[in-house]
């Protein structure tokens, strides 16, 4: 075998702390290595051309590139060697950047380490075999999980691309958080007026199948061929018959039901359509509050329903769908403000969240758009906004910035002045984060035009004093403690991962960070892809985002889906397990542990043997680690390859 080794300087990224030339020179001593060189940027066009030329000139059988992480450029270089006529699996990478040059400054130790890492790559390559992909069919339907603005955008774009879409929404209506907002920054557009038409499009699009009040129960399969089970909860109303006329709501005697849509500002009826623009506009019974369902009596709604749509004994159902790709757009939830005992959230009725305040501002909200404080319905005159409640705070395990609170607080301060001209607003902030088009100008307007008092400092405590709330904070610019007697306090509750996000991630087999936000494939270059092929991300499920960013990601995810669906066949990753029939004793241990059901037992001349289903195997290698006689080997990560790496490192 003839091997070429290419050591990358990556400008000074590697060259700064690794003597790349020496690595190349030392690599010449490795077995089978016939050519080495060091190059400034291996991934650049001249860099790649150099590799191709060297392969041709030296009749190389395989190539090692010592540069950055294979998670970055392995696909790049695989294509390079393929262009030179080699099988793309006759290639290995040594990661001498992320794992060497960037984590230490000792050039001697780094260079030595880089040489050794190159050495193990050579040893692995010496045992590489050309591998060839298998083709398989692709199901060109897409599942979108979450019907907030990101999911809506992804669904509409995919459907407009002529692909069938299955949209699953946990609540009884799509719209997500955006539907609850009164206005949007920085344009002060009416939120439901701009979102409403999109929601209607979803309802009317022939290519979109919407399941509201539904959650993803189980996901099996792999890219191109996912099998999804959807649990559809019982609304106790036959939605095929319900016309959304709302008669039932008028007559329902149980009026103290939790009003989820209005963020529990006030209460609603047990049978309910969350808001006038709901999609689907269908009634839902809350079984916790329905008198018929809790006590067995009542049934008024059933009596008056003109279409006889009420079904008290309705059960939830499981629906199966087959799709080829999945977009996760599950959004975010709000930080629980009661975790700040010193603010009294949850204890003091007039300490509310920003989203609750949106409902108080909204004309479709429980107060009809008149700002009235929850405790006594009085119109507040002094309103204090507190920023970073559950953001940038390590002590509550939320060290990240939620990103959009500064902007919505400025918007709410402006709207407050519009609603109550003789009011004064105070905003306690640490820093103002407004790096968007027209964003900073907007916060300036809140101060300059609307007279909002911005106080630079955190609030330490809020306590009732008479029928007012005493807000004690700091003005660090004045260098003193300050107090404001407020009628209403609005806490800018931070964003956190949606309830159940980690569990969904586990079903999707994608990663999530310690806060429950889903992990993208690459933070810069693959922001809507995940490490699981065929699963894409849109919106705040990946991290807090405002509306334009969420919409952009919805479209981006749709573009990825449409690109995937542009092919008629997909190729499997040929790094899969293969059985050596001679060695297999048919004990079935591999069959038992395979997480994908990718190994089946077959009969070979009366003997049981294992066989890998090539398009189902995902290449984890669990079977290889399980088989005692090593009869099933994961291609490209065989026992012998790993043993050779161990030997190269240890038997020095």
């Amino acid at each position: 075998m003839k091997i070429g080794v290419f050591v990358c300087h990556c400008g000074s990224n590697i060259g700064g702390t690794v003597d790349a030339a020496r690595v190349a020179e030392a690599s010449r001593e490795f077995p089978d290595v016939v050519f080495t060189s060091d190059t400034m940027y291996a991934c650049s066009e001249p860099g790649q051309d150099g590799i191709i030329q060297a392969i041709k000139d030296n009749q190389l059988d395989g190539v090692v590139v010592s540069s950055c992480t294979p998670r970055m450029h392995e696909p790049t270089f695989r294509r390079t060697v393929e262009r030179a006529g080699l099988n793309r699996f006759m290639f290995e990478m040594a990661n001498i950047r992320e794992h060497v040059s960037w984590i230490g400054k000792d050039k001697e130790a780094n260079t030595n380490k880089a040489i050794e890492l190159t050495g193990i790559a050579v040893e692995k390559l010496r045992r590489d075999q050309p591998l060839f992909a298998k083709q398989f069919d692709i199901n060109k339907r897409v599942l979108v999980i979450g019907g907030g603005v990101a999911g809506i955008q992804a669904a509409l774009d995919c459907a407009d691309g002529d692909r069938e879409v299955v949209l699953v929404e946990r609540e009884s209506t799509i719209g997500g958080k955006m539907a609850k907002l009164d206005k949007t920054f920085p344009t002060v557009d009416c939120s439901s007026c701009i979102l409403g038409p999109k929601m209607v499009d979803v309802a009317q699009h022939p290519k979109i199948q919407l399941y509201a009040m539904a959650e993803v129960e189980e996901i099996g399969g792999y890219v191109g061929n996912y099998e999804v089970k959807i649990r559809r909860k019982a609304p106790y109303v036959n939605w095929d018959l319900c016309t959304g006329c709302g008669l039932c709501m008028e007559k329902c005697p149980s009026k103290k039901s939790t009003d989820r849509f209005n963020e529990q500002v006030g209460s609603t009826t047990a049978i309910n359509i969350p808001f006038p623009q709901a999609i689907p506009k269908k009634a839902v019974i809350d079984p916790k509050f329905c008198i018929k369902l809790t006590k067995g009596k009542c049934g008024i709604c059933a009596k008056i329903c003109p279409t006889k749509a009420i079904v008290f004994d309705q059960r939830e159902e499981i629906i199966s769908e087959s799709v080829g790709a999945i977009v996760a757009a599950t959004g975010y939830d709000l930080f629980d403000i009661s975790k700040y005992g010193e603010y009294g959230g949850g204890r003091l009725p007039d300490v509310i969240t920003g989203l609750q305040y949106e409902r108080l501002l909204s004309a479709s909200g429980p107060t009809g758009g008149h700002v009235k404080r929850p405790s006594d319905g009085k119109e507040p005159k002094t309103i204090v906004f507190v920023q970073c409640v559950g953001s940038r705070d390590k002590s509550v395990d939320r060290p990240y910035c939620s990103g959009f609170c500064c902007m919505y607080t400025a918007k709410q301060a402006i709207l407050t002045k519009d609603h109550i001209p003789d009011s004064s607003s105070y905003v306690f902030y640490m820093d103002i984060r407004s790096p968007g088009k027209m964003y900073d100008e907007f916060t300036r307007r809140a101060m300059e035009e609307y007279g909002t008092q911005y106080v630079r400092g955190r609030v330490s405590m809020i306590y009732p004093q008479g029928d007012k709330l005493m807000v004690r904070g700091a003005d660090t610019l004045m260098g003193t403690q300050v107090e404001v007697e407020a009628d209403l306090v609005v806490l800018a509750a931070g964003a956190e991962a949606a309830v159940g996000a980690p569990q969904l991630a586990e079903k999707l087999r994608i990663s999530y960070d310690k806060y429950g936000f889903f992990m993208e494939s690459h933070p810069k270059l693959r922001p809507v892809e995940t490490n699981t092929a065929g699963v894409y991300l849109a919106g705040s499920c990946q991290g807090p985002k405002d509306i334009p960013a969420s919409v952009a990601q919805g479209s981006a995810a749709a573009a990825k889906v449409l690109a995937l669906f542009a092919k008629d066949k997909l190729e499997n990753d040929p790094m899969i397990s293969l059985v050596d029939m001679k060695r297999c004793v048919g004990c079935g241990k591999c069959v038992r542990v395979c997480p994908f059901g990718a190994i089946k037992e077959i009969d070979v001349r009366g003997e049981p043997k294992a066989e890998v289903i090539e398009t189902v195997c995902q290449g984890c290698g669990l079977c290889t680690a399980t088989c005692p006689q090593g009869a099933i080997q994961l291609s490209h990560f065989t026992d012998n390859q790993i043993l050779a790496e161990v030997n190269a490192l240890c038997q020095l």
């Binding site: 004990c587 090593g630 012998n640 043993l643």
Partner: protein
């Protein structure tokens, strides 16, 4: 009627339906038994059971997969049957198990240590408490309590755990629990002592693989990774390291599967105390998973399953 007579009757009755029944007979001398493969009624006469019936008859089972085989088993042998059945390596309907209450077997290495290598033993008389050996006309007596195999002293399963026929009445277990004092004692020595112990013991290994061949759970047989090039886990180099690696492989492959029949150590021609490795493994399997191999044919071996929240493993890792 003695247990042996009863057993012979049961075997004779079943033999026509079977390809063979495996038991024990006298070997090259009266002290050494050897496995007996009974195919005809007259073979049954040679059957002997007792403290010299040391071999694990289940060891042969996987090689006879398509045959109908009868098996005379001690308690420990029966655990191997259970374990093989659990792993789907035998078809239970092809195996007829003859059980009897086992009073424990002699460890011939202990006998040899007591009376020396005496050569051909002409006759052995066994009583519940003694072995009386006639060698060169003179008689040697050894107390069973002095020569009983260690595994029998702590045996909790003297009666076949699975059986289709049972001769005699089940007996009380020899012990009710195993506190692994031997493992603890070994580990009370310094790390260096332990390391050097194995280094020196393993230097005596002649790589005959008798330990593996005697093991009822070593089902890879011709495909053992100790002797393959692909995968190439162990080299043929004459190095302690390679020999030791094989023992580690054997112990790991037996994790959660070893029924502690002790055949590996018994078969070792140079008396390397390798059962200690399996004992250690079993101790840990018991501690972490509260699991005993070869007891329940329906159980799933602990290393072929998992719990999302492990009770005895720190979930968040190191």
């Amino acid at each position: 009627m003695t247990i042996l007579t009863q057993l012979k009757e049961q075997i004779t009755a079943q033999l026509p339906k079977l390809d063979m029944v495996i038991g024990w007979e006298q070997g090259y001398d009266a002290l050494h038994a050897t496995p007996l493969f009974m195919r005809a009624a007259e073979d049954v006469e040679r059957l002997q059971i007792g403290p010299l019936s040391v071999h694990n008859t289940a060891t042969y089972l996987t090689g006879l997969r398509n045959k109908k085989v009868g098996l005379v088993v001690k308690g420990c042998d029966s655990r191997a049957v259970v374990q093989l059945q659990q792993e789907g390596l035998i078809d239970r309907e092809n195996v007829v198990v003859f059980g009897f209450p086992c009073d424990g077997v002699a460890d011939l290495t202990k006998v040899r240590r007591l009376i020396g290598d005496v050569g051909r033993v002409e006759e052995v008389e066994t009583t519940p408490t003694e072995l009386r050996l006639r060698v060169d006309g003179r008689e040697e007596q050894v107390a069973m309590s002095d020569v009983m195999a260690d595994k029998c002293r702590r045996c909790q399963y003297p009666n076949a755990l699975v059986h289709d026929h049972f001769a005699g009445k089940p007996r009380e277990p020899h012990a009710t629990s195993d506190d692994y004092t031997d493992v603890q004692e070994f580990e009370s020595q310094s790390l260096e002592t332990r390391f050097e112990h194995w280094k020196s013991e393993m230097s005596r290994c002649i790589r005959c693989y008798a330990c593996r061949n005697a093991c009822p759970m070593c089902v890879c047989r011709d495909h053992c990774i100790a002797q393959s090039r692909d995968p190439h886990w162990v080299t043929q180099d004459d190095m302690v390291r390679e020999k030791w690696m094989f023992q580690v492989i054997h112990a790991m492959h037996l994790a959660g599967r070893c029924v502690e029949c002790g055949e590996c150590q018994r078969a070792c021609p140079v008396d390397i105390p390798i059962l200690a490795l399996k004992r250690k493994m079993n101790k840990e399997i018991k501690e972490v998973f509260n699991y005993d191999a070869g007891v329940d044919p329906q159980a799933i071996p602990p290393l072929l399953s998992f719990q999302v929240e492990e009770e005895n493993i720190n979930e968040r890792g190191w």
